[in-house]
């Protein structure tokens, strides 16, 4: 029911679209290298290109918080490790994410947690590439939510793999990562196998 603006005043575009939070296994996020900014504006969103062929600006992850460490004296921040059936996510929260910092402070590992955050790609001086997720929120959840997420993430991974090569991002992923779909099917299969049937 969108009306034409013909003859009227141009309507201000009020619809703000929030970046969806992608579901991605640790085993896949770890392999991501390509990151880019869409647009020239300082505030334009930045994306990480996933090997399964989709850009992501935000991720939603559920797993087990296994370790947390507070670092820094003047500007303290938390680094933490979070594990899913395929590997480890590195997550962090600094003084610009006070809510997430307080949430991490209150959670004692090991615990199931749900994380919403933005992935960042770092290169170490010796050329290694690291991906860490800067948290917007970290919430303690139950096992049911973790299991639900594994299903959700497996489905999302399979969906992306099926479209690989049919979307601009999918094509780019094929070129940059030489993605082997079978590998990701195996990853999803193994993650699902760990759930109780």
């Amino acid at each position: 029911m969108t009306g034409s603006a013909k003859g009227g005043f141009p309507r201000r575009d009020l619809t703000f679209e929030r970046e969806p939070a992608r579901r991605v296994f640790a085993g896949e996020l770890r392999e991501s290298r390509i990151h880019f900014r869409e647009g020239d504006d300082e505030k334009s969103p930045t994306y990480v290109l996933l090997p399964s062929g989709e850009r992501c600006n935000r991720v939603f992850l559920v797993g087990t918080l296994t370790e947390k460490k507070k670092q820094g004296e003047q500007n303290p921040f938390y680094r933490a490790r979070m594990v899913d059936p395929t590997g480890t996510f590195f997550i962090m929260a600094g003084s610009y994410q006070p809510e997430a910092m307080q949430q991490i402070a209150r959670i004692e590992p090991p615990a199931f947690v749900a994380v919403v955050g933005k992935p960042n790609v770092y290169e170490t001086p010796d050329g290694a590439v690291l991906i860490s997720v800067r948290c917007e929120s970290v919430t303690a959840v139950d096992k049911d939510t973790r299991d639900r997420w594994v299903l959700d993430c497996a489905r999302a991974t399979l969906d992306r793999i099926e479209l690989l090569g049919n979307t601009p991002d999918g094509e780019r992923a094929l070129q940059e990562y030489h993605t082997d779909p079978a590998l990701f099917r195996k990853m999803a299969y193994e993650a699902l196998s760990q759930l109780s049937l």
Partner: protein, 407 residues
């Protein structure tokens, strides 16, 4: 391409008005327009005709005005001749307008305006007229027939009975529409000139309706079904509303099942916005605004007698799409198991006050999978039912098959 037929058609029309034209010359003009200037053939015909009508000062020929059309054939920007019935007269919006209302024939209906300067005879409700050389125009996104000083108005006799076509609410478009619908909500009027407003619904959807104050208008009764002929369909900010002032409203027997337009969306709750949890509202009748912690209402200033309310504002995300949701008190209580009374007690007995309620709500629902049902307005979902989405082992089996299948 051959232009003989077109040229012959034009010359016949001109001859009918008592003028002679050279058909070969017409053909040449048409050919030049179409082949040299890339004008579409119908437009070329129109151009030549209007040139001739200017040359011979013939009215009602020139443009497509000579062509008699039914109302559903009218195209914005064109001249037209129609035979039509006045089915509604509405109060005129300005002194430049002599009359306004709705015209109908068996093909459809259209709004019309008679300019004061047109010096046209006064049209009577229920009578048929032949209108030569009226102009079709667009006003607020809907077609409108303008009767100006060049329009020839003749009263004619027809005994055709017009039965307007009922349109499903979902298919309404700006202009005129007839619906059969049930009054499902009555809203507080927001303007002193407004007589009644609310929501009408049928099997396909819902639409807002407005009835402005006017003599002889009667209120609609909530829960009743009405057949509404010739209502104005207006568009405002991309949403439609039905203006019942020009309409004929007939109360009906029976009931209809209304499609409330509810949609369902599942995903993870990825963000809870400030303003969720326990909030204070302005107690002034009809205000209900959220007020600050210091009890300050932007309109009614300090209100120590505020009312507490409980709600969730947040973003639900399925990995592809993110939707803003607004969960009102009752549904919030059901989902979180925290009642308004409990929330108030927590706030009053805790050093963090209302923030403590926010934190407890957050810990119960953030990062969880939810299914929400509700109405979507301006890309925000007003949730009226919401539940946690459980883990489903059957889905595991299905996905295992998909992942294990051959590439």
């Amino acid at each position: 391409m051959d232009y003989t037929d077109t040229a012959e058609r034009i010359s016949q029309k001109v001859r009918a008005k008592g003028h002679e034209v050279d058909t070969v010359k017409l053909e040449g003009k048409l050919k030049r327009l179409v082949e040299e200037f890339g004008v579409p053939p119908t437009e070329a015909e129109r151009t030549v005709m209007s040139e001739l009508s200017r040359e011979f000062s013939i009215n009602g020929l020139g443009t497509a005005a000579g062509e008699e059309k039914t109302l559903n054939q009218l195209v914005t920007g064109e001249w037209a001749t129609v035979e039509t019935k006045v089915v509604s007269l509405t109060s005129v919006p300005s002194s430049a307008v002599a009359q306004s209302g709705i015209l109908a024939d068996s093909s459809g209906s259209i709004r019309f305006v008679v300019w004061a300067k047109a010096n046209a005879p006064i049209l009577s409700l229920g009578k048929w007229y032949r209108l030569e050389s009226a102009v079709v125009d667009e006003y607020r996104g809907a077609a409108n027939l303008k009767i100006h000083s060049g329009t020839v108005v003749k009263e004619i006799t027809r005994d055709t009975v017009l039965i307007p076509k009922i349109t499903p609410i979902q298919d309404l478009s700006p202009g005129i529409g007839s619906v059969r619908a049930k009054v499902i909500q009555e809203w507080e009027t927001t303007h002193e000139r407004m007589f009644q407003s609310g929501l009408l619904g049928d099997e396909t959807g819902t639409i807002k309706f407005v009835l402005w104050k006017e003599e002889g208008k009667e209120r609609l009764t909530p829960g009743m079904v009405y057949t509404i002929y010739y209502a104005g369909v207006d568009e405002f900010s991309g949403r439609y509303s039905l203006n019942l002032n020009p309409a004929t409203v007939i109360q009906e027997e029976g009931d209809i099942t209304v499609n409330s337009g509810d949609t369902s969306f599942s995903g993870a709750l990825v963000h809870i916005a400030p303003g969720s949890g326990l909030i204070k509202r302005c107690p002034v009748e009809g205000c209900n605004r959220v007020i600050s912690r210091q009890n300050y209402c932007p309109v009614h200033e300090i209100q120590p007698g505020f009312l507490y309310d409980l709600r969730i504002k947040g973003w639900l995300d399925n990995g592809e799409e993110t939707k803003e949701i607004l969960v009102q008190r009752e549904t919030t209580e059901q989902l979180t198991g925290l009642s308004l009374d409990q929330a108030r007690e927590i706030a009053e007995n805790n050093p963090l006050g209302m923030e403590e309620v926010f934190l407890r709500l957050r810990d119960r629902i953030l990062g969880r999978y939810l299914t929400c049902q509700g109405r979507e307005i301006d890309s925000r979902m007003l949730v009226n039912a919401c539940r946690f989405l459980p883990f489903d082992p059957q889905e595991t089996a299905a996905l295992l098959n998909r992942a294990g299948g051959s590439p």
